[in-house]
């Protein structure tokens, strides 16, 4: 039976990017459907009635929601190529812990950097750098969080790199100055076709953030 894979997505979403990367790593052909989040499609509302959010992975008509769950699902179903999760249970637990850490921290703290100003923004910037430094420490001397090749944590985290330029402009600071090893890791990931093709241009993301700021009345 021919596999039918559809991804409901929104181009600047770091969560959507995770699934794009996983699908590309595995060489899976899929239909990419761009959603207008101000006018969600009937398909999206049907496939994710609980959250009504993207990304949604639809495999042979059945929806998988939540980006990290999609990445794990993709890894399990198409297990013969480019494994993303380690096979050792303890290493797998470590990978899940760090992906969970990225989930808990980066989006929320990063959000505060572009949504706030003054003292609140200063606090957010400080927290973001602390978070990134912790991740940098976890990376250590490995080329990827996954070791010698791109793994689950790399896929979970690298999408946020496409937002760094926008955050730096909004917050007037340099992430590379504080976390050079992390930026080196990010650039290494960007050398991979699966990543480069899945992440939007950083200037485009910045323009999008500026539009969002205008829309929400944030100076």
């Amino acid at each position: 039976m021919a596999e039918e894979v559809v991804l409901l997505d929104f181009w600047p979403s770091p969560f959507g990017m995770r699934s794009r990367i996983a699908l590309a790593e595995k060489g899976i052909k899929y239909e990419h459907k761009e959603e207008d989040l101000r006018n969600k499609s009937a398909l999206l509302l049907q496939m994710n009635p609980v959250h009504k959010k993207i990304p949604v992975l639809i495999h042979n008509g059945k929806p998988v929601c939540e980006s990290l769950i999609q990445v794990q699902y993709i890894d399990e179903v198409w297990h013969d190529k480019a494994p993303l999760l380690p096979s050792d249970p303890y290493q797998k637990a470590t990978a899940r812990f760090w992906a969970d850490y990225v989930d808990k921290k980066i989006y929320e703290v990063g959000g505060r950097v572009w949504k706030t100003k003054g003292e609140k923004q200063a606090t957010a910037k400080k927290e973001l750098i602390e978070t990134l430094k912790l991740l940098e420490k976890e990376l250590g001397d490995k080329p990827y969080f996954g070791g010698e090749s791109l793994g689950y944590v790399d896929v979970a985290f690298i999408p946020f790199y496409s937002w760094f330029y926008a955050l730096e402009k909004c917050g007037n600071f340099s992430i590379e100055a504080e976390c050079p090893k992390l930026i080196a890791w990010a650039k290494r990931c960007m050398q991979k076709e699966s990543v480069a093709k899945s992440l939007p241009d950083q200037q485009k993301v910045y323009d999008f953030i500026l539009e969002m700021k205008k829309h929400f009345g944030i100076e």
Binding site: V64, E66, I69, Y73, E76, K92, A93, R96, D100
Partner: protein, 223 residues
């Protein structure tokens, strides 16, 4: 034989998730009670990032975050599986576990709220219960796991036991059984399982402990 240690607190729903998982699999473990106001150096060494319980230490190696711990336990000890074998069914189970995980904060949100904040917190609780009723428990199953409990039932356990304590502490009835018949049925089934029934923190003890803490917290809020 490898040693299994569990760091927890007597009232933590997260710690109980791990206790039930270990007992379901018949795994012996040493339990270490933590005082969260005075965390042990060992806990801080094993969980430097979050400094929280539960932490499972297997053969000297720490695993943190209850959902990560449960998946680890399920992989190391495959008897009485806690997740479906089929990848799609597993993805659906993990979706509901994440949903439950993302809602546990409603416990402290309601606990800490008064006035307008409390009304908002109650509204969020009802919305969550509606999702459970309308989306999660369809199909007439006894448990989320089918005929036996699985990781999804364990993840929603805070609704089965801790919500009742919270209602007593804040003096509000949030869960009306007739409004949520499927959830109500599930709660009764879940709490009837001997392993669960025999391994729950005492509700009265939790209530007294929490009421006292809440009084102090609300008093300092208004100062």
């Amino acid at each position: 034989m490898a040693v299994v240690e569990l760091f927890g607190t007597w009232f933590s729903p997260y710690a109980y998730r791990v206790i039930w998982a270990l007992k379901l699999k018949g795994i012996s473990y040493e339990y270490i009670e933590e005082d969260i106001r005075n965390k042990s150096p060992l806990l801080l060494q094993y969980n430097p990032i979050h400094k929280k319980v539960p932490v499972l230490v297997h053969d000297g190696k720490p695993i943190c975050e209850s959902t990560v711990i449960l998946q680890y336990i399920d992989e190391i000890w495959p008897q009485n599986p806690l997740l479906p074998a089929d990848p799609y069914d597993r993805a659906v189970a993990l979706f509901w576990i994440k949903f439950a995980d993302d809602k546990v904060y409603l416990m402290s949100k309601l606990y800490q709220a008064d006035g307008e904040e409390q009304r908002a917190a109650v509204k969020e609780w009802l919305e969550m219960l509606e999702v459970m009723e309308e989306h999660a428990l369809i199909g007439g199953k006894k448990f989320f796991g089918g005929d036996e409990i699985n990781m999804v039932d364990i993840a929603f356990s805070f609704v089965a036991h801790w919500l009742g304590v919270l209602e007593d502490v804040v003096g509000l009835e949030i869960f009306e059984p007739h409004k949520f018949p499927r959830v109500s049925s599930w709660i009764q089934n879940f709490k009837s399982i001997p392993l669960i029934k025999e391994n729950l923190p005492d509700a009265d003890k939790m209530s007294a402990f929490s009421k006292h803490g809440r009084e102090m917290m609300l008093a300092s809020k208004s100062n």
